[in-house]
């Protein structure tokens, strides 16, 4: 929609020189990068589509193998020890399979080993979590065991999809446990607020800090994804939360969004102060009418745009209409009142657009 | 060039829309009035607001043997009684009508015949006024086209909702 995609037709050489001139990289970096670029022609990273295919394949095959192991009773699913043992066994196997895959560059062998390894780590993780949960007979062990296994494997097992899925599963498991566990019903709301703070903080840090290495990219997506799930829970299951908890989360989101605007303005381009204030005002209004989903999708759009991250931008663009529709569809008003609210909100947004036009802020070009 | 074509299309659209309004208004003004007995039920529509589901007693007056011989679409001959409530006489087959007899269009489904509309739209929150509806008031022209103009209660009075008399 808005990505000006006309590339400036620079060559790799031009790019490196420009970056060095602006002190983004030093001489040593430059020569290392130049060397890498010339050497790696024609072999590049797997695109995201292929990774998804690997993930889907591993998902199906691990289900079939777990089914197989369950039916032939090689593993006693009631014995915690057995499950944990086989879980660890499969994970170790997965680690070495991936090692073998990395050492051999031949496409067929590499792909086959990667596929087997991913399938194996999925089986291993499921068994391990199931084993620990059986051992302690506590529902709380599901998120805890996921956390343990994710922490252990994150740095050892270097696969983007596994890192993302494992972290996401852990965060979602915590959420599901807090929502469903009977024993903690008294403190459910406080725990949810704490979890929300953690997810919010994690996502803010991971998505806005620019010094992090790429190892943490899947983790940052996991945080963003579970935050979306969390906000979906707030929006759909409104009765899970009492008003104070709901207001608290809204305030947190609003504050985070204002922080985000500041970050984007400072990092990407110095926006005029006045428009920055207006954006913050808009955020406060959105927070006030308590629509966390709309705020979150806007935040994703802004982060994605600032980071040149298409996954986040597209995610935000997809979520925004869904949350908008949901918000206006469920608002407790008659159709006539809804109509007035909708037209008014639309008019406010258009007014914002004309304001930009009037101040000529929509023509800003790079200095 | 594009703008000119746009202009042509725009005029065309507006002409069609207004012509449709004119046709309905003509039928409403010149049509002959008849009542059909109802059997109501009720949920709501998304884009058009509140509405009530309608069914007509007339639809049950036809036996399935009679129905089997008919085409998918056609006309019924109905005869209004002293209260102007129409009842089924026969399927229309191009013959001359007796005085007072009227035509009304129907279409066949898998099981029975249907007279449109099967719904009546009203302002959100006005459902309470229409609970007493017993008849639908139609305007019909001589070719069998019809228009549902109002719902009528058991005393044969048109239901006109008014917010004041709550």
């Amino acid at each position: 929609m808005s990505h000006p995609n006309m590339s400036t037709s620079l060559s790799a050489q031009d790019l490196l020189e420009k970056m060095q001139a602006d002190n983004a990289i030093d001489e040593k970096d430059k020569s290392a990068l130049a060397k890498y670029i010339t050497q790696s022609q024609g072999k590049s990273e797997m695109p995201i589509y292929i990774r998804i295919l690997v993930g889907v394949g591993a998902f199906f095959s691990s289900i079939f193998f777990i089914g197989f192991l369950a039916v032939v009773k090689i593993i006693d699913f009631d014995s915690a020890g057995g499950l944990i043992f086989f879980g660890l066994l499969f994970m170790t196997g997965a680690y070495f399979l991936l090692k073998m895959a990395e050492e051999n560059d031949e496409t067929v062998f590499h792909s086959f080993m990667t596929q087997c390894s991913f399938c194996s780590i999925a089986i291993g993780k499921v068994f391990f979590v199931a084993g620990l949960t059986t051992a302690f007979e506590k529902q709380a062990m599901i998120p805890l065991a996921s956390l343990i296994v994710t922490l252990f494997t994150y740095n050892l097992y270097k696969m983007f999809m596994d890192r993302f899925l494992s972290s996401t599963a852990t965060l979602l498991a915590f959420m599901a446990w807090i929502v469903s566990e009977y024993d903690i019903r008294e403190s459910r709301e406080i725990l949810l607020c704490i979890l929300f703070l953690i997810e919010m903080g994690g996502a803010s840090y991971l998505l806005t800090s620019r010094k992090l290495s790429r190892v943490f990219t899947p983790l940052s997506y996991a945080f963003a994804f579970s935050l979306c799930a969390f906000v979906w829970l707030i929006t759909v299951e409104e009765n899970v939360f009492s008003p104070p908890a709901f207001i608290f989360m809204n305030v947190v989101l609003t504050v985070a969004f204002i922080g985000l605007i500041g970050w984007a303005a400072g990092g990407a381009e110095k926006l005029k102060k006045e428009s920055l204030l207006i954006a913050c005002g808009g955020a406060v209004i959105l927070g006030f009418i308590s629509s966390p989903g709309i705020l979150l999708s806007l935040a994703l759009l802004v982060v994605g745009y600032a980071r040149h991250d298409r996954i986040l931008t597209q995610g935000g663009a997809l979520l925004l209409p869904i949350y908008l529709l949901h918000y206006y569809y469920n608002i407790d008003l008659t159709l006539a009142e809804k109509s007035a609210v909708l037209i008014f909100s639309g008019a406010v947004l258009l007014a914002g657009r004309f304001y930009l036009r009037w101040r000529q802020l929509d023509r800003e070009v790079a200095a | 060039m594009r703008l000119q074509a746009l202009l042509v299309f725009s005029v065309l659209v507006l002409v069609v829309l207004n012509f449709e309004i004119w046709k309905k208004e003509k039928l409403k003004a010149e049509g002959q009035s008849v009542l059909l007995q109802l059997a109501p039920v009720d949920p709501r529509s998304l884009m058009q607001g509140d509405y009530m589901r309608l069914e007509y007693a007339l639809e049950d007056m036809v036996t399935s043997e009679q129905l089997d011989k008919q085409d998918k679409r056609g006309h019924l001959v109905i005869l209004p009684n002293e209260n102007n409530v129409g009842s089924f006489v026969r399927f229309y087959d191009g013959e001359e009508l007796a005085p007072k007899e009227m035509l009304i269009r129907y279409h066949k489904t898998n099981y029975d015949i249907q007279i449109v509309p099967h719904s009546f739209f009203f302002q959100e929150g006005h459902a309470k006024f229409y609970e007493s509806a017993r008849y639908g008031e139609f305007k019909c022209d001589s070719s069998g086209k019809h228009l549902l103009v109002a719902l009528v209660n058991e005393k044969f009075k048109r239901i006109i909702p008014s917010d004041e008399e709550k």
């Binding site: 190892v215 745009y305 | 042509v8």
Partner: protein, 345 residues
């Protein structure tokens, strides 16, 4: 990978893929990545971006507001006033479209609003005259009336809206006017698939063959391709799955027709997006769909012919790994070849 001569640093184009690759191999950090991308795709256009965004969301909200206003079905407002209101809104939108000119985003948005308002008019018309018409008639009239505007608009969003209306019309018409028998029910998938696929073909043809001197760039956005591609692929893949799973469908013309069309679509799409218009996204989707079909096919075969124990699970696990490995190997080869041919990903 290829026998092409090594390029020097000056000859290698700097693009998004290159920067992402350096980042992917941890040679640069996020900050440097963004810095490089800022250089390559100057994006100091926050204001412009916000302006587009506000226009689109703002007009969408107002349009929905107008729909809700009429949905309330004010009994106090006289009939002619309601019609006058909708029609004058349509007129205002059209006038604005003329005034802005339909080459600018604002003019296109006004035309789009006018098109949506025609639908509102038809809904109000049905409401006032209690036509109780089958819903397909509303969508049919709507699609027919706005077709001229859509044709002239050169606006992908309006085309997608028109196609959505047409898809709804086809589905409702099938359900409310055709009364399909149990055997012919499945034809709807073939109809929808072929309908949507023909627009996909049209898009690719216009965009890449450029049959006239007209500017077809407005069709270029990736999301347009994505929506059309999925709108064709999904209805054509469903009868293939049905043909595999449901034995009651065996032999009915509808299922066979859908499955044959689906197969043709998969083959043609693979050929086109591999050789004619290389496109990794579309290719991967086709291959994923083929893998899912393979899962269904082998699944049915294995679980039906081998009873009980775990053997069938085991075989399916092995088949899955083998099949996906094969698919991934093929995709990676294609990817490498495309890179060598310098296809932007």
């Amino acid at each position: 990978m290829s026998d092409k001569p090594e390029l020097s640093l000056e000859q290698i184009p700097a693009n998004r893929a290159l920067v992402e690759e350096l980042y992917g191999h941890n040679l640069i950090n996020q900050e440097t990545r963004e810095y490089a991308l800022d250089l390559l795709y100057p994006r100091s256009k926050w204001g412009l971006w916000a302006s587009y965004f506000l226009s689109i969301i703002g007009s969408a909200l107002i349009l929905v507001g107008i729909i809700y206003f009429f949905a309330f079905n004010w009994s106090k407002v006289p009939i002619m006033a309601k019609f006058a209101l909708v029609e004058s809104t349509i007129l205002i939108c059209l006038a604005c479209a003329f005034w802005r000119g339909i080459d600018r985003l604002s003019g296109k948005l006004f035309l789009l609003s006018a098109s949506v308002l025609v639908g509102v008019f038809l809904a109000v018309f049905g409401q006032i005259y209690q036509t109780g018409a089958d819903a397909y008639q509303l969508f049919m009239g709507w699609a027919a009336l706005i077709f001229g505007w859509v044709l002239l608009s050169q606006f992908a969003a309006l085309w997608i809206i028109w196609l959505t209306i047409m898809n709804l019309f086809i589905c409702l018409y099938w359900d409310q006017a055709v009364f399909p028998s149990h055997q012919s029910e499945a034809f709807i998938f073939s109809i929808l698939g072929v309908f949507n696929a023909s627009f996909l073909v049209l898009r690719e043809f216009l965009l890449y063959k450029k049959p006239s001197s007209m500017n077809w760039d407005w069709l270029g956005a990736v999301w347009v391709q994505g929506i059309l591609f999925l709108a064709a692929l999904i209805p054509l893949a469903i009868p293939m799955h049905q043909a595999i799973w449901e034995s009651s469908y065996e032999g009915t013309l509808a299922a066979i027709c859908g499955a044959v069309l689906g197969t043709i679509f998969h083959v043609l799409a693979f050929w086109v997006y591999r050789f004619k218009i290389p496109n990794m996204g579309a290719l991967s989707t086709i291959i994923l769909s083929l893998c899912l079909l393979g899962e269904a096919f082998f699944g049915r075969f294995v679980f039906k012919s081998i009873d009980g124990d775990g053997l069938s699970f085991f075989i399916m696990g092995v088949i899955t790994i083998a099949m996906f490995t094969f698919a991934i190997v093929q995709l990676r080869r294609i990817h490498a070849q495309m890179e060598a041919e310098n296809v932007p990903s």
